[in-house]
């Protein structure tokens, strides 16, 4: 689904992303790991379109999206979250998700019927909330949610947009350890393996092992390993990068 070839990004003299190439297929959940400053967030920004690369290509669903602006990539099915959750604070949890469903169905501009009367859309929104274990909170405002639930809501909204590729930048950061696994469980279960894929930036190795199919290890802008977590973690260089100096 996603093919990244020889991606390069410089910030002045500093090369943040150095000839990065990899692929993500449908149904894969790939984690992106590496020490701080390795270029993980930059890479995510390049794929989501918030930064343009200096060299290289990004192919998504067989289209060259290298120069596409973010909103065009969103329409094509790339969705991302941000480290600070971006929700609609004065709308209910249900409305937060429902707006996404309205939008993707092209109904968001309609003004002559109350949104509650749109049965199909509302039940779809409820179904999504159920998938993400948020259905009991549907009438709440985001402020009343726990940090973990807010993160999940954020991702539920991306899911509601029927995105094909989810880019998740540290989805469990700021969440209590006990909730981390619940959240990852929810997210990974919700991903419809037949149509979607996800790339998750993570620091927690337990999560990488338990929930992701493949791991990309990034150091100083270069991919130094790409494979199944068990195999990759056995390489001494990888272990040094992640757990030794610079980790």
């Amino acid at each position: 689904m996603l093919v990244v070839r020889n991606l390069v990004k410089d910030f002045g003299k500093m090369r943040a992303v150095n000839r990065v190439s990899f692929q993500i297929k449908e149904g894969e959940v790939v984690s992106l790991v590496g020490p701080n400053g390795a270029g993980k967030t930059t890479l995510v920004n390049l794929i989501s379109g918030h930064i343009m690369p200096d060299e290289g290509e990004i192919i998504f669903m067989e289209r060259n999206i290298t120069r596409f602006p973010p909103h065009k990539r969103i329409k094509m099915g790339i969705a991302r979250n941000f480290q600070i959750t971006q929700l609609f604070p004065e709308l209910t949890v249900l409305d937060n998700v429902r707006n996404c469903v309205f939008s993707i169905r092209g109904l968001i501009g309609q003004f002559f019927k109350p949104s509650d009367n749109y049965e199909e859309v509302t039940s779809r929104a409820r179904e999504i909330l159920r998938r993400f274990h948020l259905d009991h909170l549907e009438g709440e405002l985001p402020a009343n949610l726990s940090e973990g639930d807010k993160k999940v809501l954020d991702i539920a909204m991306a899911y509601a947009l029927e995105s094909r590729l989810l880019l998740l930048d540290e989805p469990t950061s700021g969440v209590a350890t006990s909730d981390k696994f619940k959240i990852m469980e929810t997210i990974v279960k919700a991903i419809d393996r037949s149509k979607m894929a996800a790339m998750i930036v993570e620091h927690d190795m337990d999560i990488v092992f338990d929930y992701t199919d493949r791991v990309l290890v990034l150091r100083e802008g270069t991919i130094m390993a790409d494979g199944v977590p068990r195999q990759v973690m056995e390489e001494p260089e990888v272990r040094a990068t992640l757990f030794g100096i610079g980790a």
């Binding site: 973010p70 909103h71 969103i74 329409k75 969705a79 971006q86 929700l87 609609f88 604070p89 004065e90 709308l91 409305d95 429902r98 707006n99 996404c100 309205f102 939008s103 993707i104 109904l107 968001i108 501009g109 309609q110 003004f111 002559f112 019927k113 109350p114 949104s115 509650d116 749109y118 909204m157 947009l161």
Partner: protein, 330 residues
């Protein structure tokens, strides 16, 4: 089920309210009825204004421009195209004329937010004001234009004086428009469009990310808001009998903001309540004392400092306190 019961109660209360309004002319003296009619026009204005403020998150400090557009549409037709001077032409003209103005002004305004938006709306309405004053040979200048009683659907109110007209037919006509405006706005803010503009208000970036075209939705809200103001202006022109450039001055727009906050801008009914209360408050202040600006100024400061939720907000707080004290009544 609880949901259905409250819905029935609410509908019942609403029906009673409407019946109350319909029967009002029998009960209150005519000068108060005329004042109420003024208040009802401002209620429509406030409803439109609050679509922008509360639901889209944009503070327009120049909404008088669209009110003036509607009012002057009526006045100008009366002056320059008297053969078209019929209610069935005048009200649509007021709406269309103000909507066009709002469309043009809105196009430039929605590209900015917060203080720049407010300042821009203020400057635009002062531009309208200055034009209305200076082009006196077209617009009547600071003297304004007289507005007479138009025929409605062929029926000319021959020989009827204005107070009679306002007590009779016009009250119910206006009430009808109020009901239509309220109903339409109610539907609008609950529709997907309404939810979309609230999303834009809450988080512009995220809204764009989920596929809502922020500028376009803001523009539509601006347009509807302006059309409401124009309708209100057109309807008001008959109540006042006279339209002047002051309607486009920023002070009048400031009063619009005031009445909305007085009623409470966080609630749907707030602007309606605020408009009616303000109209009466202003008249009693003006007729009661030479220093009415002092009264209005102090009440304004009081509202901002002590009762930010406005009258409706305050009422809600009172009701909740009462509920908390009497938990057996739910």
């Amino acid at each position: 089920m609880a949901g259905l019961a409250t819905k029935r109660k609410k509908t019942g209360a609403l029906v009673l309210l409407i019946i109350g309004f319909v029967l009002l002319p029998q009960v209150i003296p005519s000068y108060q009825l005329v004042l109420l009619e003024s208040g009802l026009c401002f209620a429509i204005l406030g409803l439109g204004f609050n679509l922008l403020l509360r639901y889209t998150g944009l503070l327009s400090f120049g909404h008088g421009a669209y009110f003036a557009a509607g009012a002057y549409a009526v006045g100008m037709i009366g002056r320059y195209a008297p053969e078209l001077y019929r209610m069935e032409v005048l009200i649509p003209a007021a709406i269309v004329f103000s909507a066009i103005l709002a469309a043009i002004f809105g196009f430039v305004c929605v590209r900015h937010t917060r203080i720049f938006f407010s300042i821009l709306t203020l400057a635009l309405s002062m531009l309208v004001f200055a034009t209305l004053v200076k082009l006196y040979y077209v617009t009547g200048g600071s003297d304004g234009i007289r507005v007479g009683i138009p025929p409605v659907l062929g029926h000319a109110f021959k020989g009827m004086r204005r107070p009679q007209f306002l007590e009779g037919f016009y009250y119910y006509f206006l009430l009808g428009w109020v009901i239509v405006s309220v109903a339409f706005m109610y539907l609008l803010v609950r529709s997907p469009f309404g939810k979309a503009i609230q999303a834009v208000r809450d988080n512009e970036i995220r809204a764009e990310m989920i596929g809502i075209r922020v500028k376009r939705f803001r523009w539509w809200a601006f347009l509807v808001s302006g059309a409401y103001a124009g309708l209100a202006g057109g309807l008001w022109s008959f109540v006042n009998g006279h339209v002047t450039p002051e309607l486009a001055h920023w002070v009048f727009s400031g009063e619009v903001v005031y009445m909305t906050l007085l009623g409470g801008f966080k609630s749907f009914a707030g602007p309606i309540v605020g408009a009616i209360v303000f109209t009466f408050l202003k008249l009693y202040a003006v007729s009661g004392t030479e220093y009415w600006m002092l009264i209005i100024g102090i009440t304004l400061i009081g509202i901002v400092l002590l009762l930010p939720g406005g009258l409706v907000g305050g009422l809600v707080i009172l009701l909740e306190r009462a509920k908390a004290r009497a938990p057996w009544r739910s």
